[in-house]
Amino acid sequence: MFPQLVLYLATVCGAAALYLLMPKPGRDLRVIGGLLGAATLGGLWLVLLPLYLMKGGPLGGGGTVGLHTGFDGAQLPFYYAFSAVGIVSAVRVITHTRPVYAALWFVMVVIASAGLMLTLAAEFMALAMVIIYGGAILVTYMFVIMLATPPQAENEDGMTPDYDRVASEPLWAAVAGFLMLAVILSVVFMPMAPNQAARLPDDAVLQASTFTGRAIVDELKYSTPSGAMAPDSEATGTIRNVEHVGLDLFRSHPLAIELAGIILLLALIGAVVIAKTRVDGADADAAPERMDVGPVEPSAPAG
């Protein structure tokens, strides 16, 4: 079947590109890998776009030429832009030899996927993603990278340690990953139909059953940053994304919320226990290496 063949070809090219991009000893082939990867991505999209989206394309079965995306047209370029940024940044995350830069490229991945969610009209998820991942989790990573830098990392000519410069088994990793991707892609591009039974009730219906009496209780008027009044959801009969998610979260998943709270509490306790663990001899080992850094505080059990 022709479209699947295109996908498998792109998968093989992508695997080769990723293998070339991996940090390895020997000749530096990363430019070739980067070009091959970019060509793969661009080629895939240039083929996918006419094959699947243009109704007049080879597989479109006639009809009018045009996009049928569910979008109002202008959003489609943003999918390609954010997706390209996300994939390129993700490649840089796993090929960069310095963990700090890898973490910064990961911020780029988060921002790109937040952009993808914006094109899907999921504003709350996009903002939560940026705040939690780009803000909280990445700061934690940065702290750990600084805490756990080996003293010999800043040795001669700023070389990173050996385990950062040489990937282990890049070939088999690329083969395994892209084999999985090929399996996924063999299913992903089959035509699918949405589950009509899962569709939420109409906004107006939900509105009527949800917000009765709210206007009395809640006299707060929303305003946008520009100062203009946002259309009130009760007046327009539509519900915002945040309200949708909040309603579904607290109506349909109350038990899951409790479980999530327990998981967070357990993680909190576990992190404290891990941090308080004494490591025999670790501080004795570290002492001579740390001597030249500066005056060492005499107290403070590590952790």
Binding site: L18, I87, I94, V144, M192
Partner: protein, 106 residues
């Protein structure tokens, strides 16, 4: 108002999600720095999240987006525990190399 995504466009979003997941998997297998390995698990979460939100738009049901909140919860808990473990392991061996612990292979 939920966006009604068409089937080809859903496929595109799933492609992006799958590629992100796969890159995270490849990175987890091939990187040797423990911090970077856990960064790659976060990237796998990103791929799953993109797929979930795309399915949410496709089926016209916000449950997919609700699940993302729980994914974020697990990711935060996992980051806290994993990074604590990384610091602990670093204090044992003074290196972030995962193969320093290959004696655990048995």
């Amino acid at each position: 108002m939920l966006l009604a995504l068409s089937s080809p466009m859903l496929s595109h979003y799933l492609l992006t999600g799958a590629v992100l997941f796969m890159l995270g998997l490849v990175g987890f297998i091939s990187r040797r720095n423990m911090i970077q390995m856990f960064l790659c698990t976060e990237m796998m979460f990103q791929g799953v999240v993109v797929s979930l939100v795309a399915f949410s738009a496709f089926h016209g049901n916000v449950t997919g987006q609700t699940f993302v909140i729980f994914v974020l919860t697990i990711a935060a808990a996992e980051a806290a525990l994993a990074l604590g473990l990384v610091v602990l392991l670093f204090r044992h061996r003074r290196t972030l190399d995962a193969s320093a612990w290959s004696a655990l292979n048995g």
